[in-house]
Symmetry: C3
Subunit: 132 residues, 3 copies
């Protein structure tokens, strides 16, 4: 089973909480028990798990990554988004998450984020489900 | 099959080698062939594979990550652990590892580490097994 | 099903595009639908997905990682490759990718790279396939 969800980013860099949508889709796919491989088919975006409660966590992650990897730093790739490609590989384009009782197995404070590094854009996140 | 193991960290930052315990649990779960999705249900910790022989490798990883991402750097999240959230997303909260003949498939020098970035604490690592 | 492919790196740091070889092996393994866990059994190498079109993207990733994590920076591990161990954990030694119709599910611009951080060497990449 493979399904895509649509994600709309509104800024150049933005973490979009997609946990609720993923759980709805996993339920709709009839997936009760197994693992899902979540992936972004984009090279200037990523997917990660982090704190879902305080929006400042996302803000600190974006700000600190940009301090380490500035948008302009004498890159050779001429499309102005080398920083986004770098962040994509550092955070990662795929994520494997267990599913139990039709829901993602996450800790109390965890949420799944689509990470936009070169928006705003219309993006997709893939869900590949493997039943136990 | 989903199982949790307990991990006790003794410092704010510490890499705990959990390879032997994971192999014991995988064996106990009757898992012979497939993959395991290892995950930490925490947002200020992570899980990674790295060299298991020289403890200085772990020390260098922790020291260098902290040079790049200091504990205090004008973060907006006010709990004093923004650096730990950042390191969690950079190293990653989940890890997919193959299993053959009832053991993790790892290279000669590889070990699996639970990465504590905001300890000391009592933590858990989840093992979700999917048989081939 | 577990299979290894051989990768030869020619420089200390180099990203080798292994997408075509992976697809050929997945096809040969008779894998039509499921996920593969790709992994490097080495602690100074990694595996990632990034842009496959412009070689400058790989160059920018390697250069920027080395700016952040220099080869020599007072490390305690005395083998001269602490930077490579660090990059291995930051990029990651394993990668979970969906398979449909006998091929890796990747975006238009995505390629899978073996990431050499301490070459030149003869290396291996493992493919563990799990059918849906």
């Amino acid at each position: 089973m493979l399904k895509y969800i649509n994600v709309k980013s509104n800024n150049r860099q933005e973490f979009v909480d997609i946990t609720a949508e993923l759980n709805a889709d996993i339920s709709e796919m009839g997936m009760k028990d197994g693992i899902v491989c979540l992936f972004v088919p984009h090279t200037s975006a990523a997917i990660t798990i982090n704190e879902g409660a305080d929006p400042n966590v996302r803000r600190d992650v974006i700000t600190t990554l940009s301090r380490l990897i500035p948008k302009d730093a004498g890159y050779h790739h001429m499309e102005g988004n080398s920083d986004a490609h770098l962040k994509s590989s550092i955070i990662g384009a795929t994520l494997c998450v267990p599913v139990e009782e039709g829901r993602l197995v996450l800790g109390t404070w965890q949420a799944v984020y689509f990470c936009e590094f070169d928006g705003p854009r219309h993006r997709r996140v893939g869900i590949k489900a493997l039943k136990a």
